[in-house]
Symmetry: D2
């Protein structure tokens, strides 16, 4: 097939490359000259065959919104816009409606695969109308991993990014569970062989998983994780998952706890814990430091009598 | 009444003082000379009238255990031992049984009141057999605050410390809720008058409480809590509350979250978050830093494509 | 002062009444005839003195949005619209901007006080520009409780509802902490006197509070809460607090846990726990039921070997 | 090697079978006649070669304690007792010390593998002194899965059960994360193809794992999990993990949330939520049901003014 790829960063560039290797014709555009095949969205649209297919692979939010809006002005009924970035599913629904009003198709694709995607394929989670998804299947077949998995048409417009968002939410919970388990093991004097413990779990256990494999690799490189700071960014998807859960009245204690742990990891000092400390000061007075309730040398482990 | 007070620290000493002011005869003992009236437990026991009453006010754990054991050797059937420290309720049950085997009564008292107790009275939560508690009522009447509240005979031996433990668990949850609310308000540009906001809540609101009063006091002294580090100790009771909940299959998400926030506040770096960061490094590769998925200047807010 | 009150439900009606008792002139309007003084917003606007003050007390969302928009069409520069409902603070910011473009003032007021407000006054949390808030002080003075508390001008437009929202979030955490503490006490055989335990806490303890007072009242009416179903609605504010925390990267484990507990309380069956049960079935096979790992009668309490 | 297997339930019986297929000589005993090779522990001990090896595979707690104590009486210095059940690591430390005082070795083994272990091997997590573990390696080699993984000597006595316990804690967190993700997807109208979504994740995603594979199997059998009740038991290990975290001051928000969700799933009604509902009744009065704050039909979604 022919398609335009807008955004040639690591993800967009590699996906264009995988598509070309698969026999597709890709016209690439990005803002900066260099790798791009055309110098403007207008030119890209002119170069595409009918019905035109434009894959948008730019940052979520403003850049995606503006690109899709501009494509809506340039394209014609029957053409299709794909949003393969990290958009929020509610944005997809707006974009889908905006384009549908002009007869232009919209398909959203949540993409997983990172730096290995070029070689191994990308897991694709797709939302959109059946007719458009069917039309795009040759592209998806090339991008996805070989084998039976790694592709789903999850539902209408927005569904692709929705399930990708939830995938990432689950990922947050799993990573945090590994983190908590590691911390408890590391805190115990009892376990003298931490990396081998995790390595042993790669077979015959309930928790065997790709994340466990990555963890073993990380411990092989740095057995006490001494080179790594306990500081974790969060991406939009984790936040969106929790907010979507709140919107849908879905209890989400584990994934939210994982998100909050990331927030806390980035704080130099916690305002909430300042309050807790201040309150302890208030009701304990200097007693917090000196009240013993007893004359014993062991008194320093005794909590204040509150 | 006559009673012996063992442990003359801030709590024990003040309680002895309040009892004396109330007309009771108190024989005080502690390990270090100075404030003590007698030089040994043996002498204390000799000085008491029958049936003897010995109030133990030493640190929980070893010191309490040893003191009660020694009293069991010195006292006679009909005498009563009171544990007014911070013992775990399971310890109370053991001590009660150990003393009961010798015909000696045992009563546990959870005490709240801190530095204001001498003047305002101590809230008392009492566990033990009806007959012993009835015998001790004159003491409890003097120690408790005036008015209708501040005293409960909650149940058998251990019940006093059990409900005091739960009181403290609830306190953890409440303090953390105030902390989280404060942090959100402080994080918002919208609210320019934080101390007055909390002050205004002292009347007409659902959350009016002594802890809110303390918080207003803390903000009066230090409106941005800039002098206070977000570092909060935890006492045994918070941990015991969560562990008792687990033992009783009681869901306790809020109080446990408050406890875990205290643990985290004391960590320089979080081993769990090292794992999360290490895993992000593993699947993102250098991509975590540089992968944009797009050519836009906004790319730095884009999560890695995972 | 003169003012229009739009929405004469329990809150709006009682507030109008308290204002009249305080000497203000109130023109009331609501959709349904009966209690209303005028038959339309147009008539209400005509009846007010310059500069006009219109207090909107209708449901958040659509009704508030439409009412404010219509007032924007009817009012003139220098007039003031107050939103005293439960609007989201982001809506306030939009409304403030929309009205400011026409020279009309906007003030948002978070109101606490429920059914006792008519008699005891309402706690008011106010957002808006200084000039408008100053103009409205006579109204606020009448509505608020007597004494030094119960009123705050928290910041610009939106700040009033923002701090009211956080107030409710804190309330969620406190209520849940009491609930968890109660449940643990009720689960223990040790405590035979639950209502008296809570009653005793009304004095001399750290957790004394209005919520504790209410809890004692509830236990007086129904000592085992046997007439009450463990089913708790949530209001918008709890959800918004958690979502605002996520937006501001504020860790909020306790308040979110309280919110999720409410969500869960309303479920007949939990889809998440279906998954957990299904997974246990998958890895345990029928073994979940029958695998003992041993020949002992105690085997039924043994977890499957996973 | 020769060894005695005490406890011939599904786990012990299958392990004995796998050992025999691997060329070892196993003397089996259990309380009930039928499958057992000897009629008493005494006879079992007599039948074993020196140094004797006795693998205990009976329920944790009393049965294990009694069996190990009895073996301590029957065995001789140089013999080895293995606890392959689900004992708490603190029990292991006591058993190890008790046997060490008699010169008898003790090794604890956390075993994973369930019903597939006979065929695929069991993941083994081992604690104990080097000399004893070294002696037992032929047994472990036969029991473990083929390949490089599935066995670790994690540390001294207790370390085997400790890391197995943590493994199960991580498992709780992972399962709950999948559950929460599933629930959110199921709650959304957007996703019309839930089973295929999970199936697609088996390749190219971050969350690919054995648990995901099991989940796909469960959804294949019952696409809406309509035959499964959201009711999840918990095993000792989940509780112990949380309690060990509290003992070690390790924050464990995710795994504890997963544990509490299981507790809650088994409640007909939640006492904690009764309190929340009762408090809402108290401050809202009948207002909870009827207070609208407005005259609008949308009022039923408006929270009470609290």
């Amino acid at each position: 097939m022919h398609l335009g790829m807008i955004g040639l960063g690591r993800m967009g560039g590699n996906m264009a490359e995988r598509l070309r290797r698969g026999g597709h014709t890709v016209v690439g555009y990005e803002r900066h000259p260099g790798k791009r095949d055309v110098d403007s969205l207008e030119e890209l649209v002119e170069r595409l065959e009918h019905p035109r297919v434009a894959w948008v692979m730019v940052p979520a939010g403003g850049p995606t919104r503006e690109t899709i809006h501009r494509l809506g002005e340039l394209l014609e009924p029957g053409d299709i816009v794909i949003d393969g970035g990290n958009s929020h599913y509610v944005e997809d629904q707006k974009h889908g409606a905006e384009l549908a009003a002009k007869g232009i198709g919209f398909v959203d694709v949540g993409v997983s695969g990172g730096v290995w995607g070029l070689q191994n394929g990308y897991a694709l989670m797709v939302g959109g109308a059946d007719e458009y998804v069917a039309q795009l299947m040759p592209i998806f077949e090339t991008l996805k991993p070989e084998g039976d998995y790694g592709f789903v048409h999850a539902g209408a417009a927005g569904a692709g990014h929705f399930v990708k968002m939830v995938h990432n939410g689950i990922e947050y919970g799993m990573m945090q569970a590994f983190g908590e388990g590691y911390e408890l093991i590391a805190a115990s004097d009892l376990v003298t062989n931490v990396p081998d413990t995790f390595r042993s779990w790669k077979e015959g256990t309930v928790i065997r998983s790709w994340l466990l494999d990555l963890m073993v690799r990380a411990l092989d490189e740095d057995p006490e994780l001494s080179e790594i700071r306990g500081f974790a960014q969060d991406s939009g998807e984790g936040r969106w998952t929790v907010q979507a859960a709140v919107d849908h009245a879905v209890p989400m204690p584990t994934i939210s706890a994982a998100l909050f742990a990331r927030f806390a990891s980035r704080q130099d000092d916690s305002p909430a814990m300042k309050v807790v400390a201040a309150l302890r000061n208030q009701f304990g007075g200097h007693a917090v430091e000196s009240a013993k309730g007893a004359d014993s040398p062991g008194a320093d482990v005794t909590p204040p009598q509150t």
